[in-house]
């Protein structure tokens, strides 16, 4: 993709970044729950 101005470039990249931020926050929270939740059924 060709950008003529720095402003256009930043608008594009930071827009994607904000979406990734939201996905990351949700993902990390979920991953933490996954990590701390023990497989209780399998424990003797």
């Amino acid at each position: 993709m060709d950008f003529s101005t720095l402003q256009d470039f930043y608008t594009y990249t930071k827009g994607i970044a904000y979406v990734l931020i939201v996905l990351t926050l949700i993902g990390m929270a979920g991953f933490w729950l996954y990590l701390t939740d023990q497989e209780n059924d399998d424990e003797e």
Partner: protein, 391 residues
């Protein structure tokens, strides 16, 4: 009748000692060649490739893999996780030996090693990231040495020295975290000055963040990995507390490593997004980048997670070994593979046998020192005169 040959035959000629001896001997030969024939006699370095295996492995990997010292002491003394206490001394020892060996390796690599103090004693190039790396590595080596002295003091019976240093623990730990944050990130920042020489998938304004976060991962994984080896070969030296806490360390550090690896993955993706470098992923370098990101970041993250959830110690230990390898792959990628990617293959670098030999020599020196210290000083066990009450 007492015969010297009996003693030698019986106690010194172990397989370990023989192999280590051969490696040390070869190392001494390479040392002689380096200081009589220059770097040209020993390395494949060139004007296009001024930094090779000794910087890529001995410096970059050495510093990253010695990070267990600050990570473990931070966990125990700053975050208050007392159940990992038995892991502190081995981690500090590994850290101290690691950094000492980095300095040893630098004495081979730089042109005039006796001038290594010059940036601090003669003329300071404060605009240089390397200046900051040097200053922090030097100070941190001193911190690690001081943090190690209690073990030596207990062995030598120097009670007052030992108690004085133990009182300084909080200060030393905080200083250690500050210095480590600075130099771990700055080793990556070294490459910020060469955007035209580092492949876009590895060059990023975030290189300092990449190196710092991956140093935490390296530290956590090395403590698990090296703890596994120590338990295998030095179990008779480990006291009850160490043996009991071993599993807690593996699970606790494995869980932390998994979480930090997930964050590191996100951070790497952000690096691509912020510079709009997605299109490079479909190139051959892109394929190799994906091998690093998926095979050596995402995969160990999930292996650690599975091991923690299923209480599978063996899986966590293999994940740790794989992660350590991944750190080496990353440092090699930045310094040797992605660096000079624009040059024709005739100008690319590959280490010489002697460069590899010297790196093995330096690691062997570390292993021999580690073995000696761990079998004579209270690192894997608590000295009877200084036993701390355990919950």
């Amino acid at each position: 009748m007492f015969k010297l040959s009996d003693v030698i035959n019986r106690s010194l000629l172990t397989p370990f000692n023989i192999i280590a001896g051969i490696i040390l001997f070869i190392g001494l030969i390479i040392t002689a060649l380096r200081f009589t024939g220059g770097l040209a006699a020993v390395t494949n370095l060139s004007d296009y490739n001024p930094w090779g295996l000794w910087i890529g492995f001995d410096l970059l990997c050495g510093v990253a893999l010695a990070a267990g010292g600050y990570v473990t002491s931070a966990a125990v003394y700053i975050f208050g996780m007392k159940k990992y206490h038995s892991a502190v001394r081995p981690a500090i020892l590994t850290g101290f030996l690691g950094y000492a060996l980095v300095v040893l390796a630098l004495n081979y690599d730089v042109g005039r090693p006796w001038r290594l103090p010059y940036p601090f004693a003669v003329q300071a190039g404060t605009t240089s990231v390397l200046f900051e790396v040097g200053a922090c590595v030097l100070l941190y080596l001193v911190v690690l040495f001081i943090e190690f002295t209690p073990a030596a003091s207990e062995w030598l019976g120097l009670k007052r020295a030992r108690n004085l240093v133990v009182r300084l623990t909080m200060l030393l730990t905080i200083l250690g975290v500050i210095l480590s944050t600075l130099h771990q990130s700055s080793l990556g920042a070294l490459f910020l000055i060469a955007p035209s020489k580092l492949h876009p998938l590895w060059y990023s304004q975030y290189i300092p963040v990449f190196f710092f976060i991956s140093s935490i991962i390296a530290g956590l994984s090395m403590v698990i990995f090296e703890g596994t080896l120590t338990h295998r070969y030095f179990a008779e030296k480990m006291d009850e507390a160490h043996l009991r806490e071993k599993e807690d360390v593996v699970f606790g550090f494995g869980k932390a490593a998994s979480f930090v690896l997930a964050a590191y993955f996100a951070v790497k993706v952000f690096g691509i997004a912020m510079d709009d470098n997605w299109r490079y992923l479909s190139t051959s370098y892109g394929a190799w980048f994906l091998v690093e990101l998926l095979g050596f970041v995402a995969l160990p993250c999930l292996l650690y997670a599975a091991g923690v959830r299923e209480k599978n110690i063996r899986l966590i230990k293999w994940a740790a070994a794989w992660t350590v390898l991944g750190i080496v792959v990353n440092r090699f990628n930045v310094c040797l593979v992605a660096f000079n990617w624009h040059l024709p293959s005739s100008e690319r670098y590959f280490p010489s046998w002697m460069e590899i030999g010297l790196s093995i020599f330096i690691v062997t020196v570390g292993v021999v020192a580690f073995k000696f210290i761990v079998t004579t000083m209270p690192v894997l066990y608590e000295h009877p005169s200084y036993k701390t009450p355990h919950p």
